[in-house]
Point group: C2
Chain length 200, copies 2
Protein backbone atom coordinates (compact mmCIF):
# COMPACT_ATOMS: atom_id res chain seq x y z
CA UNK A 1 0.00 0.00 0.00
CA UNK A 2 1.39 3.34 -1.01
CA UNK A 3 0.25 6.78 0.11
CA UNK A 4 1.70 9.99 -1.23
CA UNK A 5 0.80 13.62 -0.79
CA UNK A 6 -0.72 15.39 -3.72
CA UNK A 7 -2.08 18.87 -4.43
CA UNK A 8 -5.62 17.84 -3.77
CA UNK A 9 -4.80 16.10 -0.52
CA UNK A 10 -3.50 12.57 -0.43
CA UNK A 11 -3.47 10.26 -3.39
CA UNK A 12 -3.62 6.62 -2.45
CA UNK A 13 -3.41 3.23 -3.98
CA UNK A 14 -5.23 0.43 -2.19
CA UNK A 15 -5.27 2.38 1.06
CA UNK A 16 -6.65 5.56 2.53
CA UNK A 17 -4.66 7.99 4.67
CA UNK A 18 -5.89 10.41 7.30
CA UNK A 19 -3.41 13.08 8.30
CA UNK A 20 -3.62 15.30 11.37
CA UNK A 21 -1.39 17.47 13.50
CA UNK A 22 -1.77 16.39 17.17
CA UNK A 23 0.28 18.10 19.89
CA UNK A 24 2.64 19.50 17.29
CA UNK A 25 3.23 16.08 15.73
CA UNK A 26 2.21 15.07 12.22
CA UNK A 27 0.13 11.91 12.65
CA UNK A 28 -1.00 9.72 9.83
CA UNK A 29 -3.35 6.78 9.94
CA UNK A 30 -3.49 4.31 7.08
CA UNK A 31 -6.81 2.55 6.54
CA UNK A 32 -7.27 -0.50 4.38
CA UNK A 33 -9.61 0.24 1.51
CA UNK A 34 -12.30 -2.19 2.56
CA UNK A 35 -12.68 -0.50 5.95
CA UNK A 36 -13.31 2.97 4.64
CA UNK A 37 -16.92 4.03 4.57
CA UNK A 38 -18.41 6.57 2.22
CA UNK A 39 -19.35 8.65 5.24
CA UNK A 40 -15.76 8.72 6.41
CA UNK A 41 -14.62 9.85 2.99
CA UNK A 42 -17.18 12.61 2.87
CA UNK A 43 -16.30 13.74 6.40
CA UNK A 44 -12.55 13.59 5.89
CA UNK A 45 -12.69 15.61 2.70
CA UNK A 46 -9.55 13.81 1.58
CA UNK A 47 -9.22 13.31 -2.15
CA UNK A 48 -9.96 9.86 -3.41
CA UNK A 49 -8.61 8.01 -6.44
CA UNK A 50 -11.06 6.53 -8.93
CA UNK A 51 -9.55 3.12 -8.46
CA UNK A 52 -9.94 3.30 -4.71
CA UNK A 53 -13.47 4.57 -5.07
CA UNK A 54 -14.31 1.60 -7.26
CA UNK A 55 -12.93 -0.84 -4.75
CA UNK A 56 -14.61 0.79 -1.83
CA UNK A 57 -17.98 1.25 -3.32
CA UNK A 58 -20.04 -1.27 -1.47
CA UNK A 59 -23.17 0.02 -3.17
CA UNK A 60 -21.81 -0.69 -6.61
CA UNK A 61 -20.85 -4.12 -5.30
CA UNK A 62 -24.44 -4.64 -4.19
CA UNK A 63 -25.62 -3.66 -7.68
CA UNK A 64 -23.13 -6.13 -9.19
CA UNK A 65 -24.49 -8.85 -6.88
CA UNK A 66 -27.95 -8.08 -8.27
CA UNK A 67 -26.59 -8.33 -11.82
CA UNK A 68 -25.08 -11.72 -11.00
CA UNK A 69 -28.36 -12.93 -9.51
CA UNK A 70 -30.03 -12.01 -12.78
CA UNK A 71 -27.39 -13.89 -14.75
CA UNK A 72 -27.82 -16.97 -12.55
CA UNK A 73 -31.56 -16.86 -13.31
CA UNK A 74 -30.84 -16.87 -17.05
CA UNK A 75 -31.44 -13.14 -17.34
CA UNK A 76 -29.58 -10.06 -18.48
CA UNK A 77 -26.86 -9.17 -15.93
CA UNK A 78 -27.74 -5.62 -14.98
CA UNK A 79 -28.31 -4.72 -11.34
CA UNK A 80 -29.28 -1.67 -9.35
CA UNK A 81 -29.65 -0.47 -5.77
CA UNK A 82 -31.34 2.59 -4.29
CA UNK A 83 -29.47 4.17 -1.39
CA UNK A 84 -30.98 6.51 1.21
CA UNK A 85 -28.67 8.18 3.70
CA UNK A 86 -26.04 5.47 3.28
CA UNK A 87 -28.45 2.54 3.49
CA UNK A 88 -29.79 0.37 0.71
CA UNK A 89 -33.59 0.66 0.58
CA UNK A 90 -34.23 -1.06 -2.74
CA UNK A 91 -32.54 -3.70 -4.88
CA UNK A 92 -33.37 -5.02 -8.30
CA UNK A 93 -32.18 -6.56 -11.51
CA UNK A 94 -33.31 -6.81 -15.09
CA UNK A 95 -36.32 -9.13 -15.46
CA UNK A 96 -36.83 -9.31 -19.22
CA UNK A 97 -36.36 -13.07 -19.32
CA UNK A 98 -37.55 -13.98 -15.83
CA UNK A 99 -40.88 -12.10 -16.05
CA UNK A 100 -41.08 -11.65 -19.80
CA UNK A 101 -41.05 -7.98 -18.92
CA UNK A 102 -40.35 -5.02 -21.18
CA UNK A 103 -40.39 -2.50 -18.32
CA UNK A 104 -38.52 -4.27 -15.50
CA UNK A 105 -35.07 -3.03 -16.37
CA UNK A 106 -32.73 -3.19 -13.36
CA UNK A 107 -33.34 0.39 -12.24
CA UNK A 108 -37.11 0.09 -12.71
CA UNK A 109 -37.19 -3.19 -10.82
CA UNK A 110 -35.14 -1.60 -8.04
CA UNK A 111 -37.50 1.40 -7.80
CA UNK A 112 -40.53 -0.91 -7.81
CA UNK A 113 -39.03 -3.05 -5.05
CA UNK A 114 -38.27 0.07 -3.00
CA UNK A 115 -42.00 0.76 -2.97
CA UNK A 116 -44.01 3.96 -2.99
CA UNK A 117 -41.83 6.67 -1.50
CA UNK A 118 -42.44 10.33 -0.86
CA UNK A 119 -40.83 12.91 -3.11
CA UNK A 120 -38.88 14.13 -0.09
CA UNK A 121 -37.31 10.66 0.24
CA UNK A 122 -36.36 10.30 -3.43
CA UNK A 123 -34.64 13.65 -3.17
CA UNK A 124 -32.18 12.23 -0.64
CA UNK A 125 -31.43 9.07 -2.62
CA UNK A 126 -28.59 7.87 -4.82
CA UNK A 127 -29.38 5.27 -7.46
CA UNK A 128 -26.62 2.84 -8.42
CA UNK A 129 -26.72 0.87 -11.63
CA UNK A 130 -24.14 -1.43 -13.17
CA UNK A 131 -24.89 0.04 -16.61
CA UNK A 132 -25.73 3.50 -17.94
CA UNK A 133 -29.52 3.91 -17.60
CA UNK A 134 -31.46 3.62 -20.86
CA UNK A 135 -33.97 6.35 -21.85
CA UNK A 136 -36.78 4.66 -19.88
CA UNK A 137 -34.78 4.28 -16.66
CA UNK A 138 -33.31 7.76 -17.12
CA UNK A 139 -36.85 9.06 -17.40
CA UNK A 140 -37.83 7.35 -14.15
CA UNK A 141 -34.85 9.01 -12.43
CA UNK A 142 -35.96 12.39 -13.78
CA UNK A 143 -39.61 11.76 -12.85
CA UNK A 144 -38.80 10.99 -9.22
CA UNK A 145 -36.13 13.70 -9.06
CA UNK A 146 -33.43 11.38 -7.77
CA UNK A 147 -30.56 13.85 -7.54
CA UNK A 148 -27.57 11.53 -7.98
CA UNK A 149 -26.83 8.40 -9.95
CA UNK A 150 -23.69 6.27 -9.91
CA UNK A 151 -23.17 4.26 -13.07
CA UNK A 152 -20.97 1.17 -13.23
CA UNK A 153 -20.06 1.72 -16.86
CA UNK A 154 -21.17 3.32 -20.10
CA UNK A 155 -18.76 1.56 -22.44
CA UNK A 156 -21.26 -1.16 -23.42
CA UNK A 157 -24.21 1.20 -23.67
CA UNK A 158 -24.67 4.87 -23.00
CA UNK A 159 -28.10 6.20 -22.13
CA UNK A 160 -29.14 9.85 -22.43
CA UNK A 161 -26.75 11.03 -19.72
CA UNK A 162 -26.63 14.58 -21.08
CA UNK A 163 -30.43 14.84 -20.88
CA UNK A 164 -30.36 13.47 -17.33
CA UNK A 165 -27.65 15.98 -16.36
CA UNK A 166 -29.65 18.79 -17.95
CA UNK A 167 -32.48 17.91 -15.56
CA UNK A 168 -30.26 18.59 -12.55
CA UNK A 169 -29.12 15.02 -11.85
CA UNK A 170 -25.48 14.39 -10.90
CA UNK A 171 -24.18 11.52 -13.01
CA UNK A 172 -21.01 9.67 -11.97
CA UNK A 173 -19.61 7.00 -14.27
CA UNK A 174 -17.05 4.63 -12.73
CA UNK A 175 -16.11 2.50 -15.77
CA UNK A 176 -15.89 -0.48 -13.48
CA UNK A 177 -14.10 -3.40 -15.22
CA UNK A 178 -16.29 -6.02 -13.53
CA UNK A 179 -19.45 -4.34 -14.86
CA UNK A 180 -17.91 -4.06 -18.33
CA UNK A 181 -16.86 -7.72 -18.35
CA UNK A 182 -20.28 -8.92 -17.20
CA UNK A 183 -21.95 -7.26 -20.16
CA UNK A 184 -19.20 -8.15 -22.62
CA UNK A 185 -19.51 -11.86 -21.79
CA UNK A 186 -23.29 -11.76 -21.85
CA UNK A 187 -23.59 -9.97 -25.19
CA UNK A 188 -21.14 -12.42 -26.75
CA UNK A 189 -23.43 -15.33 -25.83
CA UNK A 190 -26.87 -13.74 -26.25
CA UNK A 191 -26.65 -10.77 -28.59
CA UNK A 192 -30.31 -10.99 -29.69
CA UNK A 193 -31.54 -10.75 -26.09
CA UNK A 194 -29.37 -7.72 -25.47
CA UNK A 195 -30.60 -6.05 -28.64
CA UNK A 196 -34.20 -6.68 -27.62
CA UNK A 197 -33.53 -5.07 -24.25
CA UNK A 198 -32.35 -1.82 -25.84
CA UNK A 199 -35.03 -1.78 -28.53
CA UNK A 200 -32.70 -2.72 -31.40
CA UNK B 1 -73.48 18.74 -40.96
CA UNK B 2 -71.59 21.34 -42.86
CA UNK B 3 -68.83 20.87 -45.38
CA UNK B 4 -66.99 23.71 -47.05
CA UNK B 5 -64.01 23.87 -49.37
CA UNK B 6 -60.80 25.25 -47.95
CA UNK B 7 -57.27 25.84 -49.20
CA UNK B 8 -56.01 22.60 -47.77
CA UNK B 9 -58.90 20.54 -49.11
CA UNK B 10 -62.22 20.29 -47.38
CA UNK B 11 -62.88 21.50 -43.89
CA UNK B 12 -65.68 19.71 -42.18
CA UNK B 13 -67.75 19.79 -39.06
CA UNK B 14 -69.26 16.51 -37.91
CA UNK B 15 -68.95 15.01 -41.40
CA UNK B 16 -66.33 14.04 -43.94
CA UNK B 17 -66.49 14.85 -47.63
CA UNK B 18 -64.90 13.02 -50.50
CA UNK B 19 -64.81 14.92 -53.79
CA UNK B 20 -64.13 13.41 -57.23
CA UNK B 21 -64.65 14.24 -60.86
CA UNK B 22 -66.47 11.29 -62.52
CA UNK B 23 -67.41 11.48 -66.23
CA UNK B 24 -66.86 15.24 -66.19
CA UNK B 25 -69.14 15.71 -63.21
CA UNK B 26 -68.08 16.97 -59.81
CA UNK B 27 -69.26 14.32 -57.33
CA UNK B 28 -69.19 14.68 -53.59
CA UNK B 29 -69.94 12.10 -50.96
CA UNK B 30 -70.67 13.07 -47.40
CA UNK B 31 -69.77 10.47 -44.77
CA UNK B 32 -70.91 10.52 -41.20
CA UNK B 33 -68.00 10.91 -38.85
CA UNK B 34 -68.39 7.54 -37.16
CA UNK B 35 -68.07 5.68 -40.43
CA UNK B 36 -64.75 7.18 -41.44
CA UNK B 37 -61.74 5.03 -40.85
CA UNK B 38 -58.22 6.28 -40.25
CA UNK B 39 -57.14 4.37 -43.34
CA UNK B 40 -59.70 6.16 -45.45
CA UNK B 41 -58.52 9.50 -44.15
CA UNK B 42 -54.91 8.70 -44.92
CA UNK B 43 -55.81 7.46 -48.37
CA UNK B 44 -58.09 10.33 -49.18
CA UNK B 45 -55.55 12.94 -48.16
CA UNK B 46 -58.43 15.24 -47.34
CA UNK B 47 -57.84 17.66 -44.49
CA UNK B 48 -59.46 16.84 -41.20
CA UNK B 49 -60.60 19.08 -38.37
CA UNK B 50 -59.27 18.46 -34.87
CA UNK B 51 -62.78 18.17 -33.55
CA UNK B 52 -63.71 15.53 -36.09
CA UNK B 53 -60.51 13.67 -35.42
CA UNK B 54 -61.31 13.61 -31.73
CA UNK B 55 -64.75 12.18 -32.34
CA UNK B 56 -63.51 9.61 -34.72
CA UNK B 57 -60.63 8.44 -32.72
CA UNK B 58 -61.70 5.06 -31.51
CA UNK B 59 -58.23 4.44 -30.16
CA UNK B 60 -58.40 7.45 -27.89
CA UNK B 61 -61.81 6.17 -26.79
CA UNK B 62 -60.21 2.84 -25.92
CA UNK B 63 -57.57 4.67 -23.87
CA UNK B 64 -60.34 6.61 -22.10
CA UNK B 65 -62.09 3.31 -21.33
CA UNK B 66 -58.87 2.13 -19.71
CA UNK B 67 -58.67 5.33 -17.68
CA UNK B 68 -62.23 4.78 -16.48
CA UNK B 69 -61.43 1.18 -15.53
CA UNK B 70 -58.61 2.51 -13.40
CA UNK B 71 -60.91 5.04 -11.76
CA UNK B 72 -63.48 2.34 -11.00
CA UNK B 73 -60.72 0.35 -9.29
CA UNK B 74 -59.90 3.31 -7.07
CA UNK B 75 -56.87 4.25 -9.14
CA UNK B 76 -55.60 7.22 -11.11
CA UNK B 77 -57.64 7.64 -14.33
CA UNK B 78 -54.99 7.50 -17.02
CA UNK B 79 -55.26 4.96 -19.82
CA UNK B 80 -53.28 3.91 -22.84
CA UNK B 81 -53.45 1.62 -25.86
CA UNK B 82 -50.80 0.43 -28.29
CA UNK B 83 -51.94 0.25 -31.90
CA UNK B 84 -50.28 -1.80 -34.64
CA UNK B 85 -51.49 -1.37 -38.19
CA UNK B 86 -54.89 -0.13 -37.03
CA UNK B 87 -55.40 -2.82 -34.37
CA UNK B 88 -55.04 -2.53 -30.62
CA UNK B 89 -52.33 -4.94 -29.43
CA UNK B 90 -51.97 -3.68 -25.86
CA UNK B 91 -54.09 -1.92 -23.28
CA UNK B 92 -53.26 -0.60 -19.86
CA UNK B 93 -53.96 1.89 -17.13
CA UNK B 94 -52.16 3.44 -14.21
CA UNK B 95 -51.65 0.93 -11.37
CA UNK B 96 -50.13 3.03 -8.59
CA UNK B 97 -52.96 2.26 -6.21
CA UNK B 98 -54.01 -1.15 -7.48
CA UNK B 99 -50.50 -2.69 -7.45
CA UNK B 100 -48.77 -0.19 -5.18
CA UNK B 101 -46.61 0.37 -8.23
CA UNK B 102 -44.27 3.26 -8.95
CA UNK B 103 -43.53 2.10 -12.51
CA UNK B 104 -46.91 0.95 -13.82
CA UNK B 105 -48.02 4.25 -15.29
CA UNK B 106 -50.67 3.78 -17.97
CA UNK B 107 -48.23 3.71 -20.90
CA UNK B 108 -45.84 1.39 -19.07
CA UNK B 109 -48.66 -0.94 -18.10
CA UNK B 110 -49.86 -0.92 -21.69
CA UNK B 111 -46.39 -1.76 -23.04
CA UNK B 112 -45.99 -4.51 -20.44
CA UNK B 113 -49.38 -5.99 -21.34
CA UNK B 114 -48.47 -5.90 -25.04
CA UNK B 115 -45.59 -8.23 -24.23
CA UNK B 116 -42.11 -8.61 -25.64
CA UNK B 117 -42.21 -7.29 -29.20
CA UNK B 118 -39.56 -7.01 -31.86
CA UNK B 119 -38.05 -3.64 -32.64
CA UNK B 120 -39.54 -3.94 -36.13
CA UNK B 121 -43.02 -4.17 -34.56
CA UNK B 122 -42.63 -1.18 -32.23
CA UNK B 123 -41.54 0.84 -35.25
CA UNK B 124 -44.98 0.36 -36.82
CA UNK B 125 -46.92 1.25 -33.68
CA UNK B 126 -48.81 4.27 -32.42
CA UNK B 127 -49.15 4.70 -28.66
CA UNK B 128 -52.25 6.45 -27.37
CA UNK B 129 -52.42 7.93 -23.91
CA UNK B 130 -55.13 10.01 -22.26
CA UNK B 131 -52.43 12.26 -20.72
CA UNK B 132 -49.10 13.63 -21.86
CA UNK B 133 -46.49 10.96 -21.03
CA UNK B 134 -44.28 11.72 -18.03
CA UNK B 135 -40.47 11.52 -18.32
CA UNK B 136 -40.47 7.78 -17.52
CA UNK B 137 -43.13 6.87 -20.09
CA UNK B 138 -41.57 9.24 -22.62
CA UNK B 139 -38.30 7.42 -22.07
CA UNK B 140 -39.96 4.07 -22.73
CA UNK B 141 -41.36 5.45 -26.00
CA UNK B 142 -37.88 6.64 -26.98
CA UNK B 143 -36.26 3.35 -25.91
CA UNK B 144 -38.56 1.24 -28.06
CA UNK B 145 -38.51 3.76 -30.90
CA UNK B 146 -42.28 4.03 -31.14
CA UNK B 147 -42.55 6.58 -33.94
CA UNK B 148 -45.89 8.20 -33.15
CA UNK B 149 -47.82 9.05 -29.99
CA UNK B 150 -51.30 10.49 -29.69
CA UNK B 151 -51.92 12.34 -26.46
CA UNK B 152 -55.39 13.00 -25.05
CA UNK B 153 -54.35 16.21 -23.36
CA UNK B 154 -51.41 18.11 -21.90
CA UNK B 155 -53.36 20.77 -20.02
CA UNK B 156 -53.25 18.89 -16.70
CA UNK B 157 -49.67 17.77 -17.07
CA UNK B 158 -47.10 18.13 -19.81
CA UNK B 159 -44.27 15.64 -20.07
CA UNK B 160 -41.02 16.26 -21.95
CA UNK B 161 -42.69 16.44 -25.36
CA UNK B 162 -39.90 18.52 -26.86
CA UNK B 163 -37.33 15.89 -25.85
CA UNK B 164 -39.54 13.14 -27.30
CA UNK B 165 -39.92 15.09 -30.55
CA UNK B 166 -36.16 15.66 -30.69
CA UNK B 167 -35.76 11.88 -30.70
CA UNK B 168 -37.79 11.58 -33.89
CA UNK B 169 -41.19 10.79 -32.38
CA UNK B 170 -44.29 12.43 -33.85
CA UNK B 171 -46.37 13.85 -30.99
CA UNK B 172 -50.03 14.73 -31.54
CA UNK B 173 -51.95 16.40 -28.73
CA UNK B 174 -55.74 16.38 -29.05
CA UNK B 175 -56.76 18.41 -25.96
CA UNK B 176 -59.72 16.12 -25.56
CA UNK B 177 -62.25 17.59 -23.10
CA UNK B 178 -63.20 14.18 -21.69
CA UNK B 179 -59.57 13.44 -20.84
CA UNK B 180 -59.16 16.88 -19.28
CA UNK B 181 -62.31 16.48 -17.20
CA UNK B 182 -61.32 13.03 -15.95
CA UNK B 183 -58.09 14.39 -14.52
CA UNK B 184 -59.61 17.62 -13.26
CA UNK B 185 -62.22 15.72 -11.24
CA UNK B 186 -59.69 13.22 -9.96
CA UNK B 187 -57.12 15.79 -8.83
CA UNK B 188 -59.82 17.74 -7.03
CA UNK B 189 -60.64 14.70 -4.90
CA UNK B 190 -57.18 13.12 -4.48
CA UNK B 191 -54.48 15.74 -5.00
CA UNK B 192 -51.89 13.92 -2.85
CA UNK B 193 -52.16 10.77 -4.96
CA UNK B 194 -51.73 12.75 -8.13
CA UNK B 195 -48.70 14.54 -6.73
CA UNK B 196 -47.15 11.24 -5.75
CA UNK B 197 -47.66 9.94 -9.27
CA UNK B 198 -45.67 12.77 -10.80
CA UNK B 199 -42.97 12.77 -8.14
CA UNK B 200 -44.11 15.97 -6.43
Amino acid sequence: MIASKSRSGLSVSGAFVEANVVDGKFITKVYKARRITKRFKEKSGIAQSKELKRRMDTFLQAAIEEARKGLAEGGIPIGSVLVLDGKIIGRGHNQRVQRDSVIHHAEMNCLENAGRLKASVYKRCVLYSTLSPCPMCSGAIVLYKIPHIVVGENVTFKGPEEYVCSQGVKVEVLQDPVCIQLMRDFIKTKPELWNEDIGE
